[in-house]
Subunit: 441 residues, 2 copies
């Protein structure tokens, strides 16, 4: 009987019946289609219903044994050397910390149907992507198991603290795996909390779960871990597919990136700037000439506090005053408005905002256009908002502005100081004007 | 003394001193730069401080006489024939109705500094764009003077009624000029209120005011009026610059277009589909093969009612339950949620939404990603939202969904009927799936 390490129950029975071993090149019929690849070992101990095939593309795909109608061996193979018998011993390699926080990436969802199980362990990771053991000594920890949309500011704080811990312990770089839904908010939060971080920190996720040949998890993780070892720069970045090919990742500035597609693998886009660089299997190609270099780790202290008493309100035509009034009455300290165009709301709400500011609240203007820059000097409603004390945030993304305000309020002693910090460019969240002021209207 | 029709005060004095006449080709020095073009007549009766020059590009530019340091005549010219002495008499041409509703386009802002004056008259229009008199018999009416962001649902109703009036009176086509800030919402509103309109209706605006050589007002209006005469199709469209050149307009489907840049002339983008077509001075080039043909006007009845008791809420990480609770308690009938990714909100708000629906409210899900399609079947929070009664709106834009819900509630007798209509594709607001369901996650 062949080597079928890790297989149990139904899947073991099916593979035994076909007389195949780990390492064999197989053809499996599933739903009338043939899936061809190398039979991989299993490291998931609580699943007996999937067969894992390593495709030529490098992806591992988990096939439900119930759907496999035929297993045939196309070629006899050697058991591939994944983790333990790697030519490089782990001690030769630099340590990369992977912090799991939930989301689809590298979770075990591929072995299940139904709800995502946001869990990750070294074994899971190596069984998904054995190549990682050639790149770095991976140290994984699940610090959160939270669906992306359930993340709270305190979770961002925890991520920042854990990153700092790993940095202090000598990690060459850190990879934070997280759900993509709010990944733009999360990467911005880490950029503010980890200002001056002496190593590179890459926030990654996957748009499609790993049980699909089209999953982006594989390349995103390989790229992020490789960059964590090889990059000469420090700072926080979001790394995801740059196009629909499976060969190119974009290295986005953490504060200027947005999820602009609900499902595409290249859903994330840098807004108003190109990505800082790209990554292919040949290595990184940087566009930016001004990324901070790596630095010594001793003195780094994170600032992980975020005040959740901040709201983001997208203005829409006919928005009644009652909406803002209700929110502002609830003890809110700060408000990010996503206005229309150059940064407008309807006239009737200007007085409400003015009262909020007069009472000590902080209000800032961004644009729901996403691209471009607010300018409150062009039209009367804009000038009245300025007069009321609303601070225009140039071309800062609304999502980044929300997170920055949460961070700023926690890291300043007064509203005035917080306003001053909001106007400063702390982590590349605002770009320099690319055209003269007169052209914006 | 030369012909200086319409010039008064300072500007008349300056032109008389230079000994020039309307029609002369001049060079004016302004802020150290030379502006060259033909001296145009004035039709603005309350302004004496601007000189209007027709540039070679076709634009009229209004120059503040206080900034003009030198006026020189490069060539003697004939007074150009603008309105009255046009070779074609107006009676030869078909009638195009232009409805002014406010905003920058074709307003008199170019003759002023400071606040925009949303006013338009036939004289103003012809003085801005004399070519219009070659294209159509223009009938203008200012039906509203409202800044874009101050538009209310009742204003959309008024626009729809006025369009229907003009159609009944025989207009070949209708152009609605409006501010760009909420133009995507406005075009969607007109598309729902004017379903089955037998002529083409073009919603246009300008991103830059007409006093700048770079203004987009000129081409947008020329294009819209030309299309109103020449187009063989009916329906509501948004027409704006397609790129940064000044030669190409895009004809966007009214329900799938969004202002994606705060200031660029090509700020508007069709989302998830190409524009229905393009327009150049050579005429329209249609992409869509399925635009409705023109039809007889007799039977057309608009449906101009919109219920404003509807809110759009963009979800953000950590959104407290108090925010939605306050809104839902205010007598709201319907809620459009702009969720993250495939259409998610945090777990704690699901119960709030469930109570709203249980109490007779209507709740719908869209995505803040803008591109892509919601899918509530992939993750647990999504399935719980479905269970609570939230209706996913496929790839409908959040802005279009808001307007459609306002319209739908006014045009149905029960919440159940309204929900049914929201699920139907009424005006091209939802596209067919472009990929199989399994690929969305």
């Amino acid at each position: 009987m062949g080597d079928l390490e890790g297989y149990r129950g139904q899947s073991l029975t099916a593979l035994e019946a076909a007389g195949v071993s780990i390492g064999d090149f197989l053809s499996l019929e599933v739903d009338g289609q043939s899936v061809m690849g190398t039979l991989a070992p299993r490291y998931a101990h609580d699943d007996d219903s999937h067969i894992v095939i390593k495709l030529k593309s490098g992806y591992n795909v988990g096939l439900s044994v119930a759907k496999v109608t035929k297993v045939s061996r196309l070629a006899k193979g050697e058991r591939p050397s994944f983790t333990s018998s790697n030519p490089k011993t782990r001690g030769d390699l630099l340590e990369v910390a992977i912090l799991g926080t939930g989301g689809t990436i590298a979770s075990r969802v591929e072995y299940r149907t139904g709800a995502v199980q946001p869990a990750i362990s070294s074994e899971d990771l190596y069984s998904l992507i054995p190549e990682l053991s050639d790149i770095a000594r991976i140290r994984t920890e699940v610090i959160l198991t939270v669906a992306s949309e359930d993340l709270e500011p305190e979770h961002w704080g925890k991520m920042a603290e854990k990153v700092a811990e790993r940095v202090a312990e000598g990690a060459r770089g850190v990879v934070v795996t997280t759900g993509t839904d709010v990944m733009g908010y999360t990467s911005a939060a880490l950029a503010f909390a980890l200002q001056g971080v002496p190593v590179p920190v890459f926030v990654v996720g996957s748009q499609r779960s790993s049980d699909r040949p089209s999953s982006d998890a594989y390349l995103n993780l390989i790229g992020a871990v490789t960059l964590a070892v090889a990059a000469e720069f420090a700072g926080v970045y979001l790394v995801m597919h740059a196009d629909s090919s499976d060969e190119l990742l974009a290295i986005h500035r953490a504060t200027r990136v947005r999820k602009n597609h609900a499902s595409a693998r290249d859903a994330f886009e840098s807004i108003g700037i190109p990505p800082e660089g790209y990554w292919t299997r040949k290595g990184p190609e940087l566009i930016s000439k001004s990324l901070p270099p790596r630095a010594r780790a001793e003195k780094f202290v994170p600032k992980p506090l975020f005040d959740p008493n901040v709201a983001l309100v997208k203005f829409y035509p006919s928005m009644p005053t009652s909406l803002l009034e209700a929110q502002l009455a609830s003890g809110l300290k700060g408000l990010i408005i996503e206005g229309t165009g150059l940064g407008h709301v309807n006239r009737k709400n200007i007085a409400v905002i003015q009262r909020f500011i007069a009472g000590g609240g902080l209000a800032f203007m961004t644009s729901q256009c996403i691209w471009g820059r607010v300018d409150l000097n062009v039209y009367a409603n804009g000038r009245d908002l300025l007069q009321a004390g609303v601070v225009p945030l140039e071309d800062m993304l609304a999502e980044t502005a929300l997170v920055k305000l949460m961070w700023t309020i926690s890291n300043t002693a007064s509203a005035k100081e917080a306003e001053g910090l909001m106007r400063k460019n702390l982590a590349g969240e605002v770009t320099e004007r690319s055209f003269p002021s007169g052209q914006t209207a």
